[in-house]
């Protein structure tokens, strides 16, 4: 039985489908989800989300959020809830690179936790889109 995966943001569902495995970066380390995984609710870090299917792979970048795994009647459902998320194919690499430079410049002038968080998000996008 494959995983039933949904990647959802408050604005819309950005991806859904069946997969063999989901790999995400939690706040306390990487997690890999296979069918029949124990129920789980963890906070995600800013970083990549990989969805493996038979032979192919989808990747997305999530800006934090939650990973929720439940199994009902033998079907394991994986919900990724993120405030902002983008599929790898939809990332505008040039815009992301520009944003990284811009944020680095700003951080050079003043150090700010919010700016650093933004930089991490932009860098995660660049890394994934490359």
């Amino acid at each position: 039985m494959p995983l039933d995966v949904h990647v959802v943001t408050p604005e819309r569902e950005i991806w859904s489908g069946q997969a063999a495995m989901v790999i995400a970066r939690g706040v306390e380390g990487e997690v890999g989800i296979l069918p029949q995984h124990a129920p789980l609710l963890i906070r995600l870090a800013v970083g990549p989300l990989r969805i493996r299917m038979d032979g192919t792979q989808e990747a997305a970048v999530v800006d934090g959020g939650f990973l929720h795994v439940t199994t009902t009647e033998g079907v394991t459902r994986v919900d990724v809830l993120a405030s902002y998320a983008e599929m790898a194919g939809q990332i505008d690499l040039r815009a992301a690179e520009y944003r990284v430079q811009e944020l680095q410049r700003e951080l050079g002038q003043r150090d700010d936790a919010g700016l650093r968080a933004e930089l991490a998000k932009a860098m995660a996008r660049v890394e994934l889109a490359r």
């Binding site: 408050p10 604005e11 609710l41 906070r43 939650f66 439940t70 809830l81 405030s83």
Partner: protein
């Protein structure tokens, strides 16, 4: 051309150009209703999944305990978030929601609680300021197409105010979108969150091995504010759909009005033209008769 005829023709031209504008606005509003409705639909899965995650937390921990869920024993100040539009030309849309907001503030005051006003939308800011209310904070420039980012800004600011005890409760007055023909100004309480609102199903027995990272309390700390922001977002979307529905209706009425006016004025113009022609003929005939009389005698 006579003065009257010129005047009437000018008015017809001006009404027709106004009609073109109102017709265009009607069509734009109509397409935006559809888009806003789709956005309301698209936002539903996230809210649903968020609730499900909280139900799981409740199931594992027995009951949800969190400051955002706690009723404060003697509330002193209540935040009132009023959602209006940035532009007018939407019929009674703003008037209705502002009336509802004032009604809500009245009810809050009756309980001996002081309302603290937060506004989204320029129209609300203008109205409330004119009426002498002091506005704690306002957000403008997004009413027709609200993004999640805006909802997050508003939501986080209000949660912070609640956390710092600047407000003890939070209510929102906004417009519920029922259909393109029915919208209703309404108000809801957003904070504190009623526990039965987030845990709808009876929590069953805890699962034997459930993995939380970090511990459930810390997760709840993230989930609940997220839930409030989602509610603000949903209300903004409903309001945007309602705003466009009202605007479409108002512009449709204006377009029809322009059509009626054009019809009436065209008749007036025709009459004036006919009167002019008659006048001219009479003048020609009169002159000819006078000439005939002069040469015949």
């Amino acid at each position: 051309m006579g003065a009257k005829l010129r005047l009437v023709r000018r008015r017809i031209r001006s009404i027709q150009s106004t009609k073109k504008i109102t017709k265009a606005m009607e069509l734009i509003a109509a397409s935006r209703i559809l888009k806003a409705q789709q956005r309301v639909e698209a936002a539903r899965p996230y809210a649903e999944l968020l609730t499900r995650a909280m139900e799981d937390v409740a199931r594992q921990t027995g009951a949800l305990v969190h400051p955002l869920l706690e009723e404060r024993p003697r509330p002193e100040r209540a935040g009132v978030l009023v959602m209006t539009s940035d532009r007018g030309l939407a019929g009674a849309y703003n008037a209705n929601v502002l009336k509802r907001a004032e009604d809500l503030m009245g009810r809050v005051r009756e309980r001996g609680v002081e309302p603290i006003i937060y506004v989204s939308g320029r129209k609300g800011v203008g109205y409330l300021r004119f009426r002498g209310y002091s506005i704690e904070q306002s957000w403008t420039g997004h009413s027709e197409v609200p993004t999640y980012e805006v909802a997050e800004r508003i939501g986080r600011a209000l949660i912070e105010a609640f956390g710092e005890r600047r407000i003890d409760e939070l209510y929102a007055a906004y417009t519920d979108f029922r259909s393109a023909f029915t919208t209703r100004a309404t108000d809801r309480r957003f904070l504190p969150i009623a526990p039965e609102e987030v845990v709808r199903r009876e929590p069953g027995l805890p699962y034997p091995e459930y993995i939380f990272e970090p511990e459930p309390a810390a997760i709840l700390d993230e989930l609940l504010p997220q839930y409030v922001v989602t509610k603000v977002y949903a209300a903004l979307l409903e309001s945007a759909a309602s705003e466009n529905a009202n605007r479409r209706r108002a512009m449709k009425a204006a377009t029809e009005n322009a059509e009626d006016l054009t019809k009436v004025l065209t008749r007036v113009a025709n009459q004036a033209r006919q009167a002019e022609i008659t006048q001219e003929i009479m003048e020609v005939v009169g002159a000819a008769e006078a000439l005939g009389k002069a040469s015949g005698s």
